[in-house]
């Protein structure tokens, strides 16, 4: 580990902290409807869609609208992918996307996962890319934000007068897109172009390399895709190499911009929580829990990668960092990013449900590979996906309040609202849904021939690949250990289902929880109330996230990355 590496990580933390409050305040104004500068466009959209923006929807209606929107847009995408050979803007005359991949892709993009089992340039027409995949980059992010905002409203609304109403899905969706996602990606696109990310519609360029070989360089409107892919925590790369590709991520600055962009909205949403529930300290306490978990992840990953593979050192490879040697484990990493930025990127992209990568996670040392898996298995609550991170963390907050709140001798209350049977039920459904999807799918694939066939490696590393894939799909991350061959009927179908379960089987209980909380009277706080702010609460929350979130997966992790790490120490590699 180098001072330079830590300074870069510290710089990242400082910028994140500085941006959280201003952006959070902006979000408050967007979602309470007091920001109106795009009102005419908003109104046009509502009129065209035929929705009543003033309706305060009951949680069931809110959920129904969300599901309707998601299912309809997913079906549309499926149809377009299957029919793209008959649709315009297909100069390469690409054939219809096979059913299994059309299903998986439409599910994956609708759920903000962006797991790609195909190669874009050889399978997706421009029409499919522009009208469907790009659309989902915005829409799935906006849905996530809407759900988080609705849950926060449920928590914040006072007294019985809310009667389970959470706001209006259509206005939340529209505002998240118009006021947040579009302007932010516009700004980021320009910054990325300045850094040298390409943005053109030119044909592919054929060049002669220094060695005299011919090479085709792919072109395209990369910067605009890149920005929403990061800001919306989508992660689906323009190029197969994702953010490791020099046209997607050319410089350390573009790398910094793209990695900070992942955390911007999730972090600001936590501040939004504090503001909306009129307990800013609570918001910061949750933020602190996320931040400490993030730091822990970065620490372990960076340490493990900087330490490198002991087998290499044993064979005389110089793994010590110096002015001319990045040191550590450089396998699968870009030289311009080095160990620190690769570790940071890997942790951020899996803390959030982004899934963009600037290095090969498959080539990480086992412990460094463990961190991304654990991050995803925790449900991506360390800042997390846009919206998804907040509502996931709020589930853990409710759990914490329930378990620890009893210890102060009262029926647990979260911000004045009693946590009772129904709320606990929804919380457990959420936890159960996530755990079941990862464990059951991984179990099936780890003994079925078709599942085993997809592995790139044997032994525990192969197991990690399968575990990573289903953790990633369930958590709607979309990154891969990049060893697994995912484009088979087996994996396309199961990963597609896992993304749907990981999204909707969790959103519905989350919204129900919001609705139930919005029905509750508020008990005024007193010194007898369980405190939901301060260092103690932050530590408790971290404890519950780790124990409830990670204990479930400990056996699986022990048979994957942990045993691999121990075997590596013994000189055995996979």
């Amino acid at each position: 580990m180098t001072m330079n590496g830590w300074l870069q990580i510290a710089f990242f933390c400082a910028v994140l902290l500085a941006a959280t409050k201003p952006l959070g305040l902006y979000l408050v104004r967007v979602f309470d409807g007091s920001l109106r500068f795009l009102r005419p466009i908003e109104r046009m959209i509502y009129r065209a869609a035929g929705v009543n923006p003033d309706e305060d929807q009951h949680w069931t209606r809110y959920t129904a609208a969300m599901l309707l929107f998601s299912v309809a847009s997913m079906l549309l995408t499926y149809a377009v992918l299957r029919l793209q050979h008959r649709l315009p803007l297909n100069p390469q005359h690409l054939a219809a996307v096979p059913d299994r991949q059309a299903f998986e892709t439409s599910a994956s993009f609708t759920t903000n996962t962006n797991w790609q089992s195909y190669s874009g340039e050889s399978m997706m027409s421009y029409f499919s890319q522009m009208t469907q995949l790009a659309f989902h980059n915005f829409a799935s992010a906006a849905v996530g934000i809407a759900v988080a905002v609705a849950l926060v409203r449920g928590i914040a609304r006072r007294g019985g007068e809310a009667r389970g109403r959470l706001g209006n899905f259509w206005t939340d969706l529209t505002r998240a897109t118009l006021y947040v996602l579009v302007p932010m990606s516009l700004v980021l696109s320009l910054a990325m172009i300045q850094q040298g990310v390409i943005q053109n519609f030119k044909p592919y360029v054929e060049v002669t390399t220094l060695e005299g070989a011919k090479q085709v360089l792919a072109m395209g409107p990369v910067a605009s895709q890149e920005s929403i892919k990061q800001i919306g925590t989508n992660g689906g790369g323009f190029f197969n190499a994702n953010a490791a590709h020099p046209f997607e991520n050319p410089t350390p600055w573009s790398n910094f911009l793209s990695v900070i962009a992942i955390f911007l909205i999730p972090s600001a949403l936590v501040y939004y929580l504090g503001r909306a529930v009129k307990n800013v300290a609570h918001g910061w306490s949750v933020w602190a829990a996320m931040f400490l978990l993030f730091l822990g992840g970065v620490g372990v990953t960076y340490w493990s990668e900087a330490r490198g593979n002991p087998t290499h050192a044993a064979r005389g490879v110089d793994v010590v960092a110096s002015a001319t040697n990045p040191g550590g484990n450089m396998e699968g990493k870009e030289v311009r990013f080095g160990v620190a930025n690769s570790a940071l990127y890997a942790v951020v992209t899996t803390d959030a449900s982004c899934g963009a990568v600037n290095a090969m996670h498959d080539s990480f040392t086992p412990l460094a590979g463990l961190v991304p898996i654990v991050n995803m298995q925790l449900g991506e609550v360390i800042f997390g996906g846009v919206g998804a991170g907040l509502y996931g963390m709020l589930i853990f907050v409710v759990l914490t309040v329930f378990i620890a709140g009893l210890m102060v001798g009262r029926t647990p209350e979260y911000l004045g609202k009693k946590i009772q049977a129904r709320e606990v039920q929804m919380t457990m459904l959420y936890v159960l849904g996530a755990a079941a999807s990862v464990l059951v799918f991984t179990a099936i694939s780890s003994i079925a021939t078709s599942g085993l066939a997809g592995r790139n490696n044997m032994g525990p590393h192969g197991f990690s690949e399968i575990l990573y894939a289903f953790s990633s799909a369930t958590a709607n991350n979309g990154s891969a250990f990049a060893g697994l061959t995912g484009s088979t009927y087996w994996y396309n179908t199961q990963l597609g289902i896992a993304t749907l379960v990981g999204r909707f089987a969790l959103i519905v209980p989350a919204l129900a929880l919001g609705g139930f909380l919005a029905e509750k009277r508020v008990v005024p706080a007193s010194v007898g109330t369980f405190p939901v702010s301060g260092p103690l609460f932050t530590l408790l929350l971290i404890g519950v996230v780790l124990i409830v979130g990670a204990l479930t997966f400990f056996p699986a992790l022990a048979l994957g990355p942990i045993v691999e790490h121990l075997l590596m120490g013994a000189g055995r590699l996979f």
């Binding site: 620890a404 009262r410 606990v424 919380t427 464990l439 099936i444 780890s446 204990l551």
Partner: protein, 707 residues
């Protein structure tokens, strides 16, 4: 703690007869229908049955290693039995508690009359002595002077003065007679004169005891709201771990070493929250037991739980915050009267006054002015100018005059409420001194009751001598208790019939947060509704029939045992000691109950970390010897590791039974302080204890040679 021990019947935690019975009950509770009520323990039961089955097959098939499976099976059965035992212990203690309570309550004997004479008169010669608790509705009893009225009823015959001070706080006796408005009598009140024949209209408190025992015994025991929520959490965790363990087998097969099913069951049982799952119902029952120890009968577990959540306590001033009676604190002369004269007249008028207020005047006169008590007819001596103080005759307080006093020939002394005495003075042509109203008001403002003293000598016009300052005496230690309640975040509101000035002064002195002055029953009701509309839970005590609606409305309504049947039916708890201050203990027991649940849940979940480190390496060390590195406890062998974990998991239930029955230690403090303490104790403790415990058991197992 000191306050909890007051009136407590201490019982050793493991009373041999209760233990013996609990052991039998533990086996009886293996009934699957009973186990289904507790999903966590049901999973353990199914696991035990399955492991036993596997063991039997191994034994018949002559497979090596059946001894290990047998030990696993035995300890799994023990896990279920220990949990049953905990529940049975709590039930047994509750029943024993109630039995001894019933015995102590039967000391009152009643004279039950049999048969009705022809004229409708009862045969008073043949009353049968029966225990008051055995009276039933419709029984007719005779009460003679000095008798405690054994239960609520209607007077069917006779007129008598009855001391109802225990209920009303009013020390003046009231008249109860057959027929009309004044025929209802209340259990616990005392007949002072004459006799009454009473038809009992309600079964005495025993029925409440019976009802509560039924609650303890499980037949009618219902899960409380928080218990339901906690059961959902525990069931959810159980399902999560069920998934984690069942999917572990495919992972193990992938790794190349399938795990035996009994070992998987062992892991599952260790991971699911058996500690809290096994003790959950015991904790709930023990909460009710602790109520009985305080001589409080809770009518539902829900009420005990609600007590912990109370935000606002409504406390009646008289009897709760202040002693039932006021005491003379000062003599204030008016109109230039010599203070000795005022003291002398005040004492004279009170000599034969048996009310506590009257007696306190005599006491004060003696303490401050050395004025000795005079028997009727005695001479004060030092005032020879006044004629005829030879034979004072006491004039008792009456509701029409609202004064009491003494007549000595033509010399009359009167003391009473300001307006009553003033009317007596002005009606007879006397004048009201100019400075009187100032004195009266300032006493009222200070929270006292002004008692005006006037005299009339012969045909002269009466003169006002001065005022006796009667003061409400706040019970000792109340301020500290209210401070403690405040530290817990509970607001106290004093209810009083006094005027706002007086009420404010007493509230100030006692240290309550708020007060409701000139309170009528409907004001009390309105206050409760207002508090509840603000999301607060309200607790109150009450005894009168007019308290019944408020008792029913309050979240925790504690009725006094001396109270009317209506009040008892309306509330959800009955205090057999009729001590309104006990509300504070009730709240503390409720809080302790919830804290115990939370602490053991945290402990149970935190335990899992150590168990993973014991069992996971044990399961897979054959496949991946490198996993031995996770065996940080350095347990002897895979078998000893698994067995030690299962044994620890079973024994910790037994080890925690005392905690479940007694409740975690509770000291009033702010939530953040309590949280920190319990978190360190049960959270951090829960992480560390099993490491030591499992290691210790492992060492013992190896030493004994069981593995």
């Amino acid at each position: 703690m000191a306050t909890l021990s007051q009136g407590t019947r201490r019982r050793p935690l493991f009373d041999p007869p209760i233990v013996r019975r609990a052991m039998r009950d533990a086996v009886r509770k293996l009934d699957p229908r009973h186990q289904l009520r507790n999903p966590v323990m049901f999973v353990v039961l199914v696991g035990s049955v399955f492991t036993t089955f596997v063991c039997a097959r191994e034994l018949l098939g002559g497979t090596a290693g059946w001894g290990f499976t047998l030990q696993l099976a035995l300890w799994l059965w023990f896990t279920v039995l220990f949990a049953n035992f905990a529940e049975a212990m709590a039930e047994g203690r509750g029943k024993a508690q109630a039995d001894s309570l019933r015995k102590s309550r039967t000391q009152t004997t009643a004279r039950r009359l049999t048969g009705e004479s022809r004229e409708g008169k009862f045969d008073q010669r043949g009353p049968v002595a029966v225990d008051a608790e055995r009276l039933r509705r419709g029984d007719v009893v005779l009460c003679l002077p000095g008798d405690m009225i054994p239960g609520d009823g209607d007077v069917v015959e006779g007129v008598a003065s009855v001391d109802e001070s225990a209920i009303t706080g009013e020390s003046a006796p009231v008249i109860r007679e057959s027929g009309g408005d004044r025929s209802a009598v209340t259990g616990g009140t005392k007949v002072l004169s004459d006799y009454l024949v009473i038809r009992i209209t309600a079964n005495p408190g025993e029925t409440f005891l019976d009802r509560m025992i039924a609650l303890v015994e499980g037949a009618s025991r219902q899960k409380t709201p928080n218990e339901i929520a906690l059961t959902i959490l525990l069931s959810g965790l159980t399902i999560v771990f069920l998934l984690a363990v069942t999917t572990l087998q495919p992972f193990a097969i992938y790794a190349g070493g399938a795990v035996s099913v009994p070992v998987l069951i062992a892991l599952l049982v260790c991971l699911i929250p058996t500690t809290i799952g096994g003790l959950l119902s015991a904790i709930g029952i023990a909460g009710m037991d602790r109520m009985i120890q305080q001589n409080v009968i809770a009518m539902s577990g829900r009420a005990v739980e609600a007590a912990g959540d109370v935000n606002t306590l409504l406390l009646d001033k008289t009897g709760t915050i202040t002693l039932g009676n006021r005491q003379a604190a000062a003599f204030v002369p008016v109109n230039g009267t010599a203070i000795e004269r005022l003291v002398d007249r005040a004492q004279l008028s009170s000599l034969a006054d048996e009310t506590p207020e009257g007696r306190s005047i005599v006491v004060l006169a003696k303490e401050q002015f050395g004025l000795r008590g005079r028997s009727v007819g005695a001479h004060a001596g030092e005032t020879p100018s006044e004629p005829g103080v030879l034979g004072p005759v006491f004039v008792p307080f009456s509701a029409s005059t609202r004064m009491s006093g003494a007549d000595n020939g033509t010399h009359q002394v009167r003391k009473g409420a300001a307006d009553a005495v003033l009317r007596w003075v002005t009606d007879q042509g006397g004048k009201v001194p100019a400075d009187l109203s100032t004195v009266v008001e300032s006493i009222a403002r200070d929270g006292g009751t002004p008692l005006v003293v006037a005299e009339r000598d012969g045909s002269a016009t009466p003169t006002v001598l001065g005022v006796v300052y009667l003061k409400d005496i706040v019970k000792g230690g109340m301020r500290e208790r209210f401070d403690r309640l405040r530290a817990m975040g509970i607001r106290t509101v004093m209810i009083t019939g006094d005027n706002p000035l007086t009420a404010a002064a007493i509230a100030q002195e006692a240290g309550v947060d708020d007060f409701l002055a000139e309170a009528k029953p409907e004001d009390k009701m309105a206050l409760i509704k207002r508090e509840q509309a603000g999301g607060r839970l309200v607790a109150m005590t009450g005894d009168g029939t007019n308290d019944a609606p408020a008792l029913a409305q309050a979240d925790v309504g504690v009725s006094m045992n001396t109270g009317t049947q209506a009040a008892k039916e309306a509330g959800n708890m009955i205090d057999l000691d009729s001590n309104p201050t006990k509300l504070i203990e009730i709240v503390e027991i409720g809080k302790q109950l919830l804290m115990t649940r939370g602490s053991l849940t945290t402990f149970s979940i935190a335990n899992d970390v150590a168990k993973y480190f014991a069992i996971i390496p044990a399961m897979f060390v054959a496949t991946y010897p490198a996993l031995q590195a996770l065996n940080i406890m350095r347990l002897h062998s895979p078998q000893s590791a698994i067995l030690s974990s299962v044994i620890f998991n079973a024994l910790i239930i037994v080890a925690l039974i005392p905690l479940a029955l007694r409740g975690v230690r509770y000291r009033p403090a702010a939530a953040s302080v309590i949280l920190r303490r319990n978190l360190v104790l049960y959270g951090v403790g829960g992480l560390l204890v099993p490491f030591a415990g499992i290691k210790l058991i492992d060492v013992i197992l190896v030493f004994v040679g069981l593995v």
